[in-house]
Symmetry: D3
Subunit: 293 residues, 6 copies
């Protein structure tokens, strides 16, 4: 390696890859993942990217092969790695909530709590975490690694499973019943502890975190501009959510002011009719690319 | 049904479906139409959606199976239904104009006005409306229901047709000549009369109408910001269309003001060169998501 | 031709076609290129479009068959045409740089400068330019027209090639070594000299050039709004690039001002962390459609 | 029309179109249906094709606009047309069985036989047939034309439906219960009665029928060749289905014969192991294009 | 090069490429053209392939860079190359006929024979051939190289064109009129004269030609097997085309024989009904992969 | 379970799934794998299918959850399962050879034999087999489970890998060097030992094996028919491979015989030219669907 400062960054390969690259683009970095290469290029000479499976990310960050990376909290726990949590990243309010790892059994099975599974076989992709969970409760079970399609295994190939779920619909479709939630998980931006102690790397990592969060925040929010006569200003301000105070600027006409504010996108359909009723005119919604409050 | 207030809303199935769902998304409601289901979900617990063919929408709204729905004015007339017209919706200035239902005959046929068709066979999808039209003129014709491909039927399978057209290009391609326009039609947001008399449903329907129109208005318009010295302000204002007066705000430099206005997108290419010639600087166009004036 | 003023405009057929049509749309003109037709329609009754190969564009503009057109500087030179250069157009900062025409030979060949190629065979699509280049240096070579795949010809089918390249990666993949750059080229908006001397056509051409450049400029830039207390104003202004002075407007609170400015998109990821550190709040980035400074 | 003999043939537009064109190709006629044209070309100068909706086919064949056509038996009945049934065509044993038109009601409805529906509303695409069916049983019902998605209408938009089904899976998915089968239907090759009385047209129609059936027969059958010693011949013949007696030819070795036969494809997996057990050798299965026994 | 015998074979790059590779596969050679490489692999260690534009093929075969290759007769003539014609290849009877190079002018132009074009401009991709053609007739014309879309150039950009056509439909669509056919052309398998004088290369080239033609012949033909009683044998034989005499073999039953023959696929639909009428039974058509008579 | 005899059959989920289903279809069984279901239907009431990952197949067959299944020999070894090997299946001669599991290191690494890796980290998907391999050689190594992309890990994330390869091209592309082949593997049809001891299940399994092999054999072979005069018979027979003796049948003309034989497809291109040279005529190649010799 040369003297040049470089941050080695792990991008999750697989289901999160495209969403991650899209998030970086919105945040200001273009990553080019061409075909089969696992070393995508990025338009920042201070960063080197590598595609790594989410399951292995924490291990390689802990060992220092990577300075930082994105992975799920679940896989940090599975690997019991000692890393720095820089920030959590909920990619998009609309499409991405926390996932849950749950213990599920066949709908018509006699199992209703973890203790009922003593002596049974449990299939899961999260073997170590599951073993520790049951060991912590002193329940003897056999935990088998599942290469996929875990939710179709009970009752023929396993008695119960520990599986990830967002809405539970796949479990229901396979006629499984959740009897316990073992863990909630969301995407984490993690760093190697030594790397994060290095001043240059810490600043680079923190800037990335700031911009990624700025891009995420912009997705669920919009800009709103409107004009209002001073007589109606209080009524209009009363309609707006208290969180973000709007920017009020004086217009040439001394009786009128312009408001410019940021609003949760999901509130717009309720707020605009009320703004209009309260006397606002020239109401305009415009899209945002980044929001850093 | 529980006490919970719910608006039953009909979404047109078929050619308008995707455009309607896209319009609702721009207006602030996400509709998820998954695969084969005719009951798409919507991210508003106060609304229940059903996909219904545009041809049948007015019938079911009139009968009260649906509180409101979107359909063409043509099909309201065909079914002679008694419904409330909430608002017309021209989805997008660029791609969507009023359609016309026209009476068309082969280019080289001897028919030149409706009366010439006495005794002839007319194929159409709009059977009842067509029958009433000719009955009103006391012209005896045979009207046959056409299951599709109406414009290829003359002269072999029919003497004339009553068919919908936007630009007439499909009629010309089939060597047909328009001899009369029977009706113009555009998309209507209609409501059941009893539903619209209910205060809660009326407010919900009106909010939907306001936001749908706000989203439609934003499609053909853009935001424009510019700076101008006070000496040039009148010249610059003279270039802008009179319709929407711009927001003028004072800059720190007392000799300069900032203008912020909304403009028809189609005018921008003519207006910007004139603004620059009139002394405006820092001219910036930005996209809008909703416009409620 | 009628008295109606019409500008005959050549659109480059082929690899640049889609990007050109997209650029015109961003600039305010919609071009509809349907299937096989070489005469796309445009939503401006004062313009008639024709799709013409970039290689032939300059020839037809020079002869007056077209009033104006877009083509590469390289093909203007190849054809040695006498046309007016209105403006160069770098479609997008991100994806489009100047291309180079280079003289390349096999990696392991004994040729290291143009003079080494005396008596050799050179394959190229740019036959006339290449002949003049070597004639100007008094180096006798055989120049053969290449119908394509020029870079795979050495050493079996040619001794050297003159080929266009952006990044050199295709040349490297074919194990070729560049020994000289013969020309740099970018897209030019060119006009027939007589047409450009006509007042009406000149104004039309110049408006097109202004709007095309306005659309190009907007692609690499974004809008930035923020609030800042007057105490921090100088620090915040110090962070912003000097080029474009921001619009500063007074807020209702006399201690605060709002800043609105335009920024190179590639700088945002560095500037926002510094703005926040300097005391800015409510930092919002929004997209731009056109920028005419 | 000239003196040239031409058969006007209706090809069903819509869901059967591609399968029909594929069937004709296997039978020896190539039909080219290009884009939007309703008059596909065919490589037989004695035939002119027209794409016609299956629902309208029988009407136009009866009226003599077409000499012959393919449509479902159901639509012949719906239109009560008087046409010649040339042959039924079950396109492929694997994918195409007779369809049924059934009377279906919501699973949890109190309706269990047609009589229970007195006074109720029935939605169907097959309005006339349904009206006659209930009139024949003296059960008063309201029959409404359904533009599509009939199976989602009960119970909200209709009390019962008359709908087409192959396997019943779509009805089950919509929680409907079949209470009566009104009709079975399969594809028919029909002819106008006058056309079929014309000697030239009859021969042309019969040749088409022969070859279409020859192509259909070939789809579910395969050729089988094998060698067998005369000592084992009876045992081997005993394994083969009795229907088609095999061609037995003498080999050079007087102790051996070769068998060549046609077999239902679905039987092959059972027959080959038995043939081998019975002493056959060199068993070879080969595909067939047409079978006319 | 080692001592190993290798045939350097040119495969036409571009519109013929996929059809050529498919033809070689049917003939028994698999060619793998991966992505961007111009040197496809082939499953025959005695052959090395290179993708070469059809326009350049004859030049490189003549110069000996390639031993053999496939290209159109037109480009052999354009380049005036001296090569061995091994065989012509009409890829498939159905989709591939001889193409024609024609002289075409605008429908409403005053030009009706080549002589009318004296002094005019002619655009063509086949510059040298066209120049020689007009020189041979002592008609002075200006011939310009056309980079493509030649048929849209008249009358605006050229007075006439020399262009390739199969059916003339593209010319008609551009309102052009053919006034002379200059040349007919089909695909040729050509060889370098020295290579063809080498015994090993000649045998390799001839085997390729035999198998390519065997695969082409199989495409338009089918196998036909049937049984017939000896009493009907003459009648049945009378129905079969005289060209290929069938194989007649004796069945076990002395009164019956089996016929096995090859037939033009396009005749089958006429022959089978006649065979059945003449007393044949068990008529079976089966597909062929190669036919070498 | 009812008394009905049923064979529980595991189909490999993933990369082999489509090829397996295609193979079963060629063998005579249609498997319908719809969307997300892991229990595809099959047109044989005596079989129940389940999709199971190849990695887990042997485990579930050994435990008796499945009677039989298809998986790689590698995964049988990895799991050290005790199952019956019914037959190996090389899906297709053309596209499917035995795969190898190899030990690979970076090209420029100092490792040249397994022993050199003492103390090093080895990444692999085949953890248990690899551990046993090195334990058997008394070489202490750290074996880490790799979730994928194993070949990009050296040298950054591992010192060596044990990875599967067909042609080695992926290893070369990642600049890795093979230092040892640990195992060869191909697809196996395996059965539970108890199931295979059951007479009914054994017969069912053996029939499946016979037909699967019959379908595989047909893929690489073709049928060949030809006529030959008795004078040339020996010469023609001399050209044919000795393996399969052809069926010789007497033609009506006593001087001629017909030959019908099976041939390796890859030999055809060499054999046909020789057959023709030896006096054969009417040489026809036809495709085969199954071959059971």
């Amino acid at each position: 390696m040369s003297d040049k400062k470089v941050l080695k960054l792990g991008i999750p390969k697989g289901s999160l890859q495209d969403a991650t690259i899209a998030l970086f683009e919105r945040a200001g970095w273009r990553i080019y993942a061409s075909g089969r290469s696992y070393f995508p290029t990025i338009d920042d000479t201070e960063i080197e990217c590598m595609l790594v499976r989410a399951q292995e990310m924490a291990r390689y960050v802990e060992q220092g092969h990577l300075d930082a990376g994105l992975t799920g909290h679940d896989w940090v726990l599975e690997n019991q790695t000692d890393v720095e949590y820089v920030t959590s990243l909920t990619y998009s309010k609309a499409s991405r909530q926390k996932v849950k790892w749950v213990l599920a059994v066949p709908e018509d099975s006699p199992f209703h709590k973890p203790e009922d599974l003593a002596g049974m076989t449990i299939a899961t992709e999260l073997v170590e975490f599951t073993k520790r969970y049951f060991a912590g409760k002193n329940i003897p079970v056999k935990v088998e690694f599942s290469w996929g399609a875990t939710e179709v295994k009970p009752p023929m190939l396993a008695d119960a499973i520990v599986e990830v779920t967002e809405t539970g619909s796949s479990l229901r479709a396979n006629r499984l019943r959740i009897i316990e939630t073992l863990m909630e998980s969301e995407t984490q931006f993690i760093a190697n502890k030594d790397s994060y102690a290095d001043a240059w790397k810490k600043e680079k990592i923190d800037s990335l975190a700031l911009m990624l969060n700025g891009a995420i925040a912009a997705q669920g929010q919009v800009g709103l501009m409107l004009n209002v006569g001073k007589a109606n200003l209080d009524a209009v301000l009363g309609v707006l959510p208290a969180l973000n105070s709007p920017t009020v600027s004086q217009l040439s006409d001394p009786e009128w002011v312009a408001l410019n504010t940021i609003l949760e996108e999901s509130l717009v359909r309720d707020v605009i009719p009320k703004l209009k009723a309260a006397g606002a005119t020239g109401i305009v919604e415009y899209p945002l690319s980044k929001v850093v409050l």
